[in-house]
Symmetry: C2
Subunit: 153 residues, 2 copies
């Protein structure tokens, strides 16, 4: 995953000005390795910038997506963003339903999949959802619901 400095570096190299808001965004996405909604981002950044506005968040998310430092994905419950993977290798993701962190899967089912009816394949999506080791509900230990042992959410 891209680091704060890598994100800042790319933005700077492309001629974008490095404002405090953008530094904060870069840091947020670099530290989190999971998905965030624009609202999550706004709330996180709002802690540091009293007068933050939503449109600044949206504008920067879009710019960063276009630059390729963020990836934008649509989930059942709306649009989310995460730092780009920075992996050269083709891969998919396991996504934790609790903390929304992601873990790479290097197995790709596509080569094993037969397309029916002369279907011409262009792209594919393979996503696995569940709970990562830090967020697993119950198990052998004596806790009940998915414990949120995790910072910002």
């Amino acid at each position: 995953m891209l680091s704060t400095d890598q994100i800042i570096g790319v933005m700077s190299a492309r001629g974008l000005r490095i404002t405090d808001q953008r530094k904060s965004l870069a840091k947020l996405f670099a530290e989190r390795n999971g998905y965030l909604t624009p609202k999550d981002v706004y709330e996180y950044m709002g802690k540091q910038y009293s007068g933050l506005s939503f449109d600044t968040v949206y504008r920067n998310l879009r710019v960063m997506d276009e630059l390729g430092v963020l990836e934008q994905v649509m989930f059942e419950d709306g649009l989310k963003f995460r730092a780009s993977c920075n992996e050269d290798q083709h891969h998919h993701h396991m996504i934790c339903l609790q903390c929304e962190r992601t873990y790479p899967i290097h197995f790709c089912p596509m080569p094993l999949t037969d397309a029916p009816d002369q279907f011409q394949v262009v792209k594919h999506k393979f996503e696995v959802f569940g709970y990562c080791k830090d967020c697993r509900p119950v198990s052998q230990e004596a806790s009940q619901s998915p414990s949120q042992q995790d910072g910002l959410s």
Copy 2:
């Protein structure tokens, strides 16, 4: 895929009233075997019902999704609906980028996928996008419009 009568049948059996609007919806989804946006549905139905309102479309889409006769899926460009598959067998879909019809894939990559880090798998999504045999961008045959020869990921 569910037929018009099956859809109507389920709705009737559950005590819902069969209005002309609902007949029209059932017919639309049964004839199309692909995804439709609420707007698509509104426009299609609007041809037959002058005073149709958007909220009727939304209300019925939601009711039909809850009944299980429609399936609701979030794509990059928004929410879409299709008739339920009526297949007992677990399967995935190939989705045509042109006509948005879907074709079942009975191969499931999940059994072949190793979860890293004690990840506890809950659900998964495997979708293949491309062009079906009727929508393939020009090739050896003299087909019609679709001239988007793209090569995405």
